[in-house]
């Protein structure tokens, strides 16, 4: 597929990396900074064109007339929206537009993204805030993904020392009904992947990936979570666009929210935006005095959502040290997305960039494979594979069908969701949800695809 990526920022770069993994894709990247493009091309087999994203000439140079997919992911909303319109003029089949605010469109007035030839509008900030909101209720939750096909979820949770499942054997799981319905797919213990079998014993500090229906996952999290004595306060550091959206949502949910921001003007601006009922504290979120004033020692959750990544990471470490219940860091740089999960003191890390990559990945699916999400803790993707009637694995037990390192989480069969255990027999039409790294995924796809004797 010919893919045109506009913007070589953090998101554009990550998309180029991810899309280049597939040899079928031919990627061209447009950016105004020649130096940025040069660095990108040192490592990737892509074509680069330097120019403004929405300029007709730059798009023509980049071969827009041959592009099937256009990803407008520059930092400027206006350029992204305009570029999609220009792309459609030259015959681009699908357009994806990244925006940071919704203010361009108004469904009520009949002006929808389709008017500007945008097929998919992605809103990384909102999506990222969604992700944060989903894990905020449970102290132990790390990340939660919904698989669109059958209201199923994959969630990661942290086993806290006082949790009910510490030192419990998996086969003796106290909630027997849950055990049959939820699949414990993999566990990160001391930064190493463990595949839990019946003899597996949960330990404090484990990070567990479990899959099941949304309802079962909710029950599971309620069960393994520990209640803490803190008051229900949420502290958000920063007045960045992400922080604003987050505070707005938390306030709507009726939470007690406090905001720390050092720039008084920015704070007032945000105050006007979110309205009454939120306390604002002026000061540097990386200073102990300020955090103490805000009441970090008693708060339930601290979220670092400042504009720069380093302050968020340090602020979170400081808040955790001072006694905050759960700390969440928002980071953007690719490098930090990998190291934040490795810091034990930070409970969760979220990245608008990664969320945006996941949103785009969702849009790209081949005949038999759909890619869902990049799991940050284990650096693997969630794939959905369809089992075709004539594929060699059809009719085999899962243990015999796949290489031993493959993690099959769930099986959808006839509208039902089943946790995939090793002795289940694969049938045609099943959809398997698999956690795998890209190289393994390519091998699995080969297994699932019907063997064709003649290339059609």
């Amino acid at each position: 597929m010919n893919i045109l990526i506009l913007g070589a920022g953090e998101l554009g770069k990550q998309l180029a990396w991810t899309l280049c993994d597939n040899r079928e894709n031919k990627v061209t990247v447009v950016d105004h900074s020649a130096a940025r493009l040069e660095r990108l091309r040192e490592r990737l087999d892509v074509m680069t064109v330097s120019g403004e994203a929405a300029s007709v000439q730059a798009l023509k140079n980049a071969g827009v007339d041959k592009a099937e997919l256009l990803l407008a992911v520059t930092g400027s909303d206006a350029s992204n929206v305009l570029a999609c319109r220009v792309g459609r003029h030259f015959g681009v089949k699908r357009t994806v537009c990244r925006v940071s605010k919704d203010h361009f469109f108004s469904e009520g007035d009949g002006f929808s993204p389709a008017e500007m030839a945008i097929d998919h509008l992605i809103h990384p900030l909102n999506d990222c805030v969604d992700q944060i909101i989903r894990v905020i209720r449970h102290q132990c939750a790390i990340e939660r993904f919904t698989l669109p096909s059958a209201k199923c979820e994959i969630c990661a949770f942290h086993v806290r020392p006082r949790s009910a499942i510490v030192n419990v054997r998996l086969a003796d799981f106290p909630e027997k009904t849950l055990l049959g319905r939820v699949r414990f797919s993999l566990v990160m213990r001391n930064r190493r992947l463990v595949m839990p079998g019946g003899e597996f014993v949960f330990k404090a500090g484990d990070e567990v990936y479990a899959a099941g229906t949304a309802q079962d996952i909710e029950t599971l999290l309620d069960y393994v979570d520990v209640k803490i004595k803190h008051n229900g306060t949420m502290i958000v550091a920063g007045a960045s666009p992400a922080a604003r959206e987050l505070v707005r949502r938390l306030k709507t949910d009726g939470q007690d929210v406090r905001v720390i921001e050092s720039d008084g003007d920015l704070a007032r601006e945000m105050m006007d935006e979110v309205g009454d009922g939120v306390m604002f504290i002026q000061g540097d979120a990386n200073e102990a005095d300020v955090l103490e004033d805000a009441g970090v020692d008693k708060c339930q959750t601290f979220i670092g959502a400042l504009a720069d990544d380093e302050s968020n990471i340090l602020g979170c470490l400081l808040a955790k040290n001072m006694g905050a219940g759960k700390v969440i860091a928002v980071t953007n740089k690719a490098e930090y997305v990998d190291i934040v999960p490795a810091m034990n003191a930070i409970d969760c890390g979220f990245s608008p960039r990664l969320v945006a990559v996941n949103s785009v990945l969702n849009l790209l699916s081949s005949e038999t494979v759909r890619v869902h999400a990049l799991l940050q803790r284990v650096q693997a993707y969630v794939y959905e594979f369809e089992v075709e009637a004539r594929s060699p694995v059809c009719g085999k037990k899962i243990v015999n069908a796949f290489p031993p390192s493959t993690i099959i989480s769930l099986l959808f069969r006839g509208g039902e969701t089943r946790p995939a255990t090793g002795d289940m027999v694969l049938e045609a039409g099943d959809t398997a949800v698999v956690i795998a790294r890209p190289a393994e995924a390519a091998r699995i796809e080969g297994l699932l695809r019907r063997k064709r004797i003649l290339p059609i």
Binding site: R23, V27, R41
Partner: protein, 505 residues
């Protein structure tokens, strides 16, 4: 450095060489060479294919690909291609070890300098009484084919055949495709490689057909096409193209040499229906201008004098037609760094001979199969010189050197200037080293050095158009082989191998 990855990539390149070698055995059989020669050629290709494919099967690689690996793959790929490519000369041609390495390196780098004549001492102590013509057809075909493979680049060919090399494709491509500037045609380098080879194959077929129409046999036509399209210069006759004595053949080869010396991207665009794009290209206009001016002035200097053709005919008191015919062939042959000859330009007036030597430095265009410093670099160096002169009184002027309307950043300009310095410096070094190694004539040493470094082939004096390199000492031959590789891979790729820091980390 990721040694396993480099090993695998080099093995992949040698597989391509092995497959090409099979065709040499086929040709030997089809042309009626002795059974022994066919058998030996077959075994050569078998050894090459076995060695490389077993390496591919055994060595598993994973991990990352950075600049180091890119340079190592290209440089070692060429060296190993030359080692395996030398087998047919060694075994089926009976030549000595250093001679076969020289001949193969000369072939792959499209230099076209040959050690083959009737004085060359073979391994068994004998000589080839009639020179090149005494070699088996299979070996002659392989000799020309090394040109053809090296012309568009064996790494670029491997990229087209093995897309799995695509990981660091861009580094590999840049390290092999000549020239200071780069226009990417397609998002994937593998596709660009296919396009370049496609155009190359198309032009080669056209030339073969035209040469056959002029009375050449298919074998001769194909071998000369290889020499032309790759701007190589190996011929199947001792007297080079002059041995055919045909004006038509001279002209066809002149035209195709000229095309091979210009940017293949322009040919691609022309084939896509934009034939006028040639004259929108600054480098092409310069290249064309150089050819026209050099041809006219050299013709003038030849008027009224004598011309000795390579097959020994003497034209007394040359007229306009003869002067133009031999001048245009020789100018195009030298500026494109092909090195075919129809006349012994060693005997020409000093002006003509020196101008030809200077043209050797200029070479072909960026993105062509030609050698030398490339026209684009000459243009940029001249323009940079002019801006520096202006800076004498506009002290605060910002450098604004452009090629085809695009501003060339100063970092790129510095790389061009450094290239020119290194190229000239290497020329001086090799000239001196040749003198030290027993070449007892300044003109011969200086022209042999540029003829190897610029991938031309013939020089003046002892290495003139009607002479060969057979008489040189083994050390001098090895030294010139290194010079050819330096010239073909545009200096940097080979020189990094000599930096100690290349092997650390």
């Amino acid at each position: 450095m990721n040694v396993r990855l480099v090993t695998r990539a080099v093995a992949a390149i040698v597989v391509v060489i092995g497959v090409a070698m099979v065709t040499a055995a086929g040709v030997a059989w089809g042309m009626g060479d002795s059974k022994l020669a066919v058998l030996r050629l077959g075994l050569c290709s078998l050894i090459t294919l076995l060695a490389s494919s077993l390496t591919l099967v055994w060595v598993r690689a994973k991990g990352d690909f950075r600049f180091r690996e890119g340079f190592a793959i290209v440089a070692l790929g060429w060296i190993f291609a030359s080692i395996f490519g030398a087998l047919p000369f060694f075994w089926a041609g009976g030549m000595c070890g250093y001679d076969v390495f020289f001949e193969t390196m000369s072939g792959f780098t499209t230099t076209g300098a040959s050690v083959l004549d009737n004085t060359l001492a073979l391994r068994d102590g004998g000589v080839l009484p009639r020179g090149i013509v005494d070699l088996p057809f299979g070996v002659l075909y392989w000799r020309s084919l090394t040109h053809w493979l090296g012309g568009m680049g064996i790494v670029v060919l491997s990229l087209a055949v093995f897309p799995s090399l695509g990981l660091g494709a861009h580094q590999l491509y840049l390290a092999e495709v000549p020239g200071p500037t780069e226009d990417q045609m397609t998002p994937r380098i593998a596709d660009s490689a296919k396009i370049l080879w496609g155009v190359y194959v198309l032009l080669s077929l056209a030339e073969t057909a035209l040469l056959m129409a002029g009375g050449m046999s298919l074998f001769d036509a194909w071998c000369h096409t290889c020499g032309t399209m790759a701007t190589g210069g190996f011929s199947t006759r001792q007297a080079s193209v002059g041995g055919f004595g045909s004006l038509y053949i001279d002209m066809v080869i002149t035209v195709f040499m000229f095309l091979a010396g210009s940017n293949f991207l322009l040919h691609f665009r022309a084939l896509r229906g934009k034939p006028l794009n040639y004259f929108n290209d600054e480098e092409f206009k310069f290249y064309f201008g150089v050819v026209v001016v050099a041809t006219l002035t050299i013709s003038c200097s030849l008027l009224g004098g004598g011309i000795v053709t390579t097959d020994g005919r003497v034209i007394e008191n040359a007229g306009v037609a003869d002067a133009l015919r031999y001048a245009v062939f020789q100018v195009v042959s030298i500026v494109t760094t092909t090195g075919f000859a129809t006349a012994d330009f060693n005997l020409w007036p000093a002006y003509a001979a020196l101008l030809l030597v200077l043209l050797m430095f200029v070479g072909g265009c960026a993105g062509s199969t030609g050698g030398g410093m490339k026209n684009a670099r000459v243009i940029l160096t001249l323009k940079y010189g002019v801006t520096q002169i202006k800076r004498c009184f506009f002290r605060r002027a910002i450098s604004n050197v452009r090629l085809n309307g695009a501003r060339i950043p100063e970092s790129a300009l510095h790389k061009v200037l450094a290239f020119v310095c290194l190229f000239v410096g290497l020329h001086v070094f090799f000239s001196l080293a040749l003198c030290a190694l027993g070449v007892d004539d300044i003109v011969t040493a200086a022209t042999a050095s540029i003829a190897a470094l610029g991938n031309i082939g013939p020089g003046l004096g002892g290495v003139g158009a009607t002479r060969s390199y057979a008489w040189m000492t083994p050390e001098a031959k090895i030294l010139l082989s290194v010079a050819m590789l330096l010239g073909r891979l545009e200096v940097y790729t080979v020189l990094v191998l000599f930096l100690p820091s290349f092997y650390k980390g």
